[in-house]
Amino acid sequence: MTLTAFETAPLYTGADWDYDKVRRVYDAIEKVALGNMGLDCYTNQIEVITSEQMLDAYSSIGMPLFYKHWSFGKHFARDEAMYRKGQRGLAYEIVINSNPCISYIMEENTMTMQTLVIAHAAFGHNHFFKNNYLFQQWTDADGILDYLSFAKAYISQCEERYGHANVERVLDAAHALMNHGVHRYPRRRGPDLRNEEKRARERLEHAEATFNDLWRTVPTKAGSNSPLSDRDRRRTLLELPEENILYFLEKKAPRLQGWQREILRIVRHVAQYFYPQRQTKVMNEGCATYCHYRILSTLHERGGLTDGAWMEAMHSHTNVVFQPEFDDRRYGGINPYALGFAMMQDIERIATQPTQEDRYWFPDLAGRGDAMGALRDAWANFRDESFILQYLSPALIRKFRLFHVADDARDPEMKVAAIHDERGYRAVRQALARQYDIAWAEADIQIVDVDLVGDRKLMLEHHVMNQILLEEEEARAVMQHLANLWGYEVVLDEVETPGGTPMRRINVTPRVVLGGT
C-alpha cells in the first residue's frame, strides 16, 4: 500500500464527539475507502439516535418504519428486559440496505466508536449491499423505504376497516410461513418481444432443417392424444410444485379477500428483502470488519488517529472477532465476524504473500498482488456457502483448528469425520460450507397438489433430508395457520429423500377460516 500524504495532526482527541468531528472523520474515512480501497457505496445517511431508539429499532427488525404487530412488541419487551438487567448490550450500529444507505450511530458512544461504526457500517456494509449479486438480484435499495411506508399505511388502514383481530390473524399466519415465502431462484422474466421473435425464428429454422416427412406417417396410440395425465395437467395449470407457499396462497387460495392477499404479499416481499442477508452473514460481517480494520489502521498510520483511540478501537475490534473454542463456556457456534474477518485477511495474505501450499490450492489467486481487487471480486460474486467452499484455505483451517463431527442418532457415539490435516481439509471445508447453505439448513417443503375435484385438500410435501423431521408441535401450529388461510383441509407428508418412503403425515382442518364470508 502506498501512503499518499501523511496527515500529522490527529483528526480528534478525547472521547466526546460532536458534528464537526464526525464530519472530519467521515471525510478522512471516505478518502481511504474510496481512494485506497476502491469501495463503491450508496450515498450515506448517518442518523444519531439514543439507546432508547436503538431498542425501538431492534423491535422492528432494524427498519426505520414498519407495520405494527404484537410479535414486535414481544421482542421489544424481551430485549428491553435483558438490556435493563445488563444481560445483553446493544448493538453498536444498525445499517439498512437502502439508497441512501441509512446507518444509526448511538449518542452514548465515544468518538472512536463512532469512527469505527462509520467505517464498519457506512462503508463496509454499504459497499457489500451495493455490490453483492444476491442483493442486486433480490432487493431494491431505492424502493424499500417507500414500500415499507406503503405497507405500514396499508396495514393500518386494513386494521381500521376490517378490525384489529382480523388483520392480526392474517399477519400471524403469514409470519408463521414467512420463511417459506421467498423465491429461491430468480423467476423467468416476462417474455420480451425481441427475444421471443428470435426464439420463434430459431425454432422455425430448426424445424425446417430437420424436416422429415416420414414422421407424419408414424401411427399414434389411439385415445391418448395428450401425453399428460390429469394430475400433470392440473399441476401445470396451478404451476405446481411450488415452494413459495405465501406466493401460492396469495395467487391461488380460493377464499381470501383482496386485502388479505395484499397482506400476504407484503409479508412475502419483506421476507424476500431479508433473504440475501440470511445467506451472507459471514461475508457481510467479514467485509465490514475487514473494511473498518483497514480504514482505521490506515488512518492510524497516517497520524489521523491517536494511539489511545487506536487502542480503544482495537479493543472493540478484538472483542468482536473473538472466537471461543468448542469446549469453552462462551462457545455459541462459529462467530461470523471472526470467520469472515479471518477469511478476508487470509485472502489478502494469499494474494500478496502466498506460501507453496497456497499456490497449489489457489493457483489463480496466489501471488496475484492486487488484494483489494481480489476481495472486491469475492464480495461481489459469492454468498457464504460458495465463498467458504472457494476461499477457506488449509492455513485457516489449521488456525481455527476446525474439525468435522458426524452425529448419527442411530449410533451410540458421535464420530470425528475429519480434522485439520491433509486428508481432512476438503471434507471440513465442504461440511462448513454446507452449514451456511440455507437451502440445506431449512426444511424443503413444497406444495405438490390440490384435490380440485374432491374437497379442495391442499397437499404439501416435506423432503426429509438425513432423516431430520420437522418439530412436530410447531409444524402443526403452522399447518393450522396455513389451513386457516387456504380455507380447506391441509395435509403435510414428510417423505424421505432419496427413497420416497413416507415417514409422517400431518393433517389439519381449518379452525377459523380467514377468507370469505
Binding site: G73, F400, V416, A443, E474
Partner: protein
Amino acid sequence: MFTIVDRRLNPSGKSLANRQRFLRRAKEQVMRAVRDASAKRGIRDIDMGGDISISPDGIREPTLRRSSTGGQRDYVVPGNKEFMSGDKIKRPPQGGGSGRGNEGSEDGDGQDEFRFVLSREEFIDLFLEDLELPDLAKRKLAVTDAMDWHRAGYSVAGSPANLNLVRTMRNSLARRIALHRPTGDEIKALRQEIDDLERSGRDRERLDQARAELAEALKRTQRIPYIDPVDVRYNRFAATPRPAAQAVMFCLMDVSGSMTEHMKDLAKRFYMLLYLFLSRRYKHVDVVFIRHTHRAAEVDEETFFYSAETGGTVVSTALEEMARVIKERYPPGEWNIYGAQASDGDNALSDNTKTAQLMTDAILPDCQYYAYLEVGQEGMMPGLPYGGGPRETDLWRTYKQINAGSVLAMRRVTERKEIYPVFRELFAKDKAGQPAEVSA
C-alpha cells in the same frame, strides 16, 4: 457526500403500538401474573410497575423448522485439541451434539417463561380493569353551570368571527358560475382587444361589437355581486350542558391496639387499592381519610397509610367525624357520598347502640353505597359468621341488624390474597347501578 441527521429528538416510544398489541394479545396471562404479583408485594410498592413473567402460551410464533434431535447431522467446530479423524466422542447430555450452548439456551429461554417489565401505568390499568364505582351520578347535580360548546354544522347568521370562508367562497363561486358573471380575465381580454383595435384602426365593426360586449359585461358585473349575502355561511356552535357528577369517598379505618399488624396491613391494602382505583378512574372524586381509635380525626393520605397510633376502639367517633365532614363540606344534595370502613370488628360494648343509631340516622341515608370490610386474624376461616366458627364480632352484629337495604355491603377478609377478589366483588362493573346486598 453524506448527510448526518439528528434523530434524538424524534418522539420515542415508536414501538408503543406494538407493545399495546402484545399486551392485548397476552392479556389473560398478564392479568394473572399481575394479580399474583400484587399479593406478594409490600404496601408501598403495590402501585409500582415491574417484572412479571408469563407463560408463553398464546404468544408463540411457530415456524416450520427441522427438529433439533434425531437424524444424521454434521457439525464443524473450532478448537480441536486431541481428536484424530475416526475418534469416537460421547454425545453431550442434551443430545444437541457438540453445538451446545447458544442454540439450545436461546430457544429454551422462550420455552418456559417469558419475562418482561410492565410500566406503572400498564400495571395499574390491568389491575383495575372492569371496576366501576357503583351508582355514580345518580344524584346528578341539577345546577350545572358547565357548558360544552361544540361544532354543529353551518348557519346563515352569526358573528363575523365565526365566518366560514371556505363555505362562503364556494357558494359564491357556484353562484357566479351559474349566473355567468364575467370573470376578470374575460373583461381584461375584451379591453385588450378594444385597445388593439383602436390602435390599429381597422375592423370598426368588430370594435363596436367589442365595446358593446364590454359594456354588457361591466353591467353584469355590477348587477351580480362577487359575494352576495346569500353566500355567506357561519360556523354554528351548539352548547350542551355537561353533567358534573361530584363524588366523595370516605375511608374509615380502625387503627387501635386490637388491630394486629396483619389486620392493619389487610386494611391498608384494601384502601390502597381503593385509593388507586379512585384516583385513576375519577378525576372529580374527593377522598376523605378518617382514622380512629377511641377518638377520630381526619388525616391526610400519608398519615392514614403510614403512621402508627394506639388506643381503644370507639367506632362511633369515626362516624361522628364523617357526619361532621359531610355537614361541613359535602351537602348530600350536591354530592354522591360513598363510605368504606375497615375494622377488626371490635367496638366498645357501650358504643354499639350509638353506632347503630348513627349509621341508620346520619350516615346511611346520605350514602350511595357503604362498604364494610372486616379484617380477621391470619388463619381464621373467611366468611365465618355462619357456621361453627368464632362468634360474630360486635360490629358485624351491629351492622347486620341495621336493615339498610342495598346500601350497606359487608365482607370479611383474613388473608392477603382475598383482598383483591373481595375488592373486585365490591366494585365490579356489573354492580354499578345495583349495589351489593347486605351479605357475608
